[in-house]
């Protein structure tokens, strides 16, 4: 353990625990997912950074969206994201999640992912190297330290707007809103 960080562990142990146990949903979308298997296995070994893939969204706290998002995939992404327990962090991987990338004028690919779910950080590039994932992870540590990785709080706070945007593209959604407005406000007031 890094002795320089001892005070951080004493002051905010949960925050430090969140930082060093990032369980990523093994959710594959787009072409970026081709970078993920070498990243989590022996060549780059993401476990050095405490990142491990998790089979189910209900046990994960890091959502790496690896590439272009079609309308059908957006539905699955929202479902997966809403199933993850808080605190949860999302990272958009590749330029397609930022502005549509090379699919900016596609008839079936959404352009800006952060209109539909909150994103804590982006990795630019097409494709980003596996090393870029580690840069993103270390950057995410800094954000967690400074309480800036607050995507899940923003989602709760602005849930009505997010849900409206989702319904604009997906139409009728199969599941009811996960937050009632009053409940979301109450949780936000209690937990900040």
């Amino acid at each position: 353990m890094d002795r320089n960080q001892l005070m951080k562990w004493i002051k905010a142990p949960t925050k430090m625990a969140h930082k060093y146990s990032l369980n990523a949903v093994y959710f594959c979308t787009g072409c970026g997912v081709i970078e993920v298997p070498p990243t989590i296995t022996s060549r780059w070994d993401a476990e050095r950074f405490g990142v491990v893939p998790t089979a189910t969204a209900r046990q994960a706290n890091l959502f790496l969206i690896t590439g272009y998002v079609s309308v059908k995939t957006l539905r699955a992404i929202i479902r997966t994201y809403e199933q993850m327990p808080e605190p949860k962090y999302t990272v958009g991987f590749g330029s397609c999640t930022i502005n549509g990338g090379m699919y900016w004028d596609s008839y079936n690919t959404i352009n800006q992912l952060d209109k539909y779910i909150p994103i804590d950080g982006y990795i630019a590039g097409c494709m980003p190297r596996p090393e870029a994932i580690f840069v993103a992870v270390t950057h995410l540590w800094t954000l967690i330290d400074k309480d800036m990785a607050d995507g899940y709080k923003r989602y709760r706070k602005n849930y009505a707007a997010y849900r409206a945007n989702q319904e604009m593209i997906l139409g009728e959604m199969e599941w009811p809103p996960i937050f009632q407005t009053e409940v979301a406000t109450a949780i936000t007031e209690r937990e900040g």
Binding site: S70, V71, K72, R75, G100, W104, D105, S106, Y107, N108, I110, N111, Q112, D114, K115, Y116, P118, R154, N158, A161, Y162, N165, M168, I169, L170, G171
Partner: protein, 169 residues
């Protein structure tokens, strides 16, 4: 007309036009009504593998071109013709009345190919068992692979219309 298969096709069917393929394939252009008979003929002749069905939108000519690429699993059977070419079967369909006979009766694998073409080009396949959407999740006024489908306009109307989230509010 040196190709033996071409000679037999020409003798059997009316209105069959042969073009020598640039890449060693034999291109056969048939009228729309002759798609299924010619496919049946070719299947019995040893072309037992329908690799793909493709579609081209020739908007200036006002017609769609369906392309069937036929190949074979066993080389011996085709070898009796002396040639081991793959066959491209082409047929045109008018844009206004876009419908074609289904090939599912001859090749069962035609089912997903025709569903895809139906979804992306809006061509109706007569007698297809289930012409339901295959990939797309949304409804489009014009099928998206037609040349008169304006993708930029569509993106501006649909995806760019979604407002960004006002995080400060």
């Amino acid at each position: 007309m040196t190709n033996p298969l071409g000679t037999r096709l020409d003798a059997t069917f009316k209105g069959v036009e042969l073009r020598s393929g640039v890449d060693g394939r034999l291109a056969v252009v048939v009228p729309r009504e002759a798609i299924v008979p010619v496919l049946t003929f070719l299947k019995e002749d040893g072309y037992d593998y329908l690799q793909l069905i493709s579609c081209v939108d020739w908007i200036d000519r006002g017609e769609f071109e369906l392309v069937y690429l036929l190949s074979f699993y066993t080389e011996d059977e085709v070898g009796r013709d002396g040639g081991k070419q793959e066959v491209l079967l082409k047929a045109t369909v008018p844009r206004e009345q876009a419908s074609a006979p289904t090939a599912t009766g001859v090749f069962a694998i035609a089912e997903p190919h025709e569903r895809e073409i139906h979804e992306l080009y809006g061509i109706h396949f007569e007698g297809h068992p289930r012409l339901t959407p295959l990939f797309l999740d949304r409804d489009y006024e014009i099928p998206p692979f037609r040349k008169d489908f304006d993708t930029k306009q569509y993106v501006a109307d649909v995806f760019d219309r979604v407002p960004p989230i006002d995080e400060e509010g």
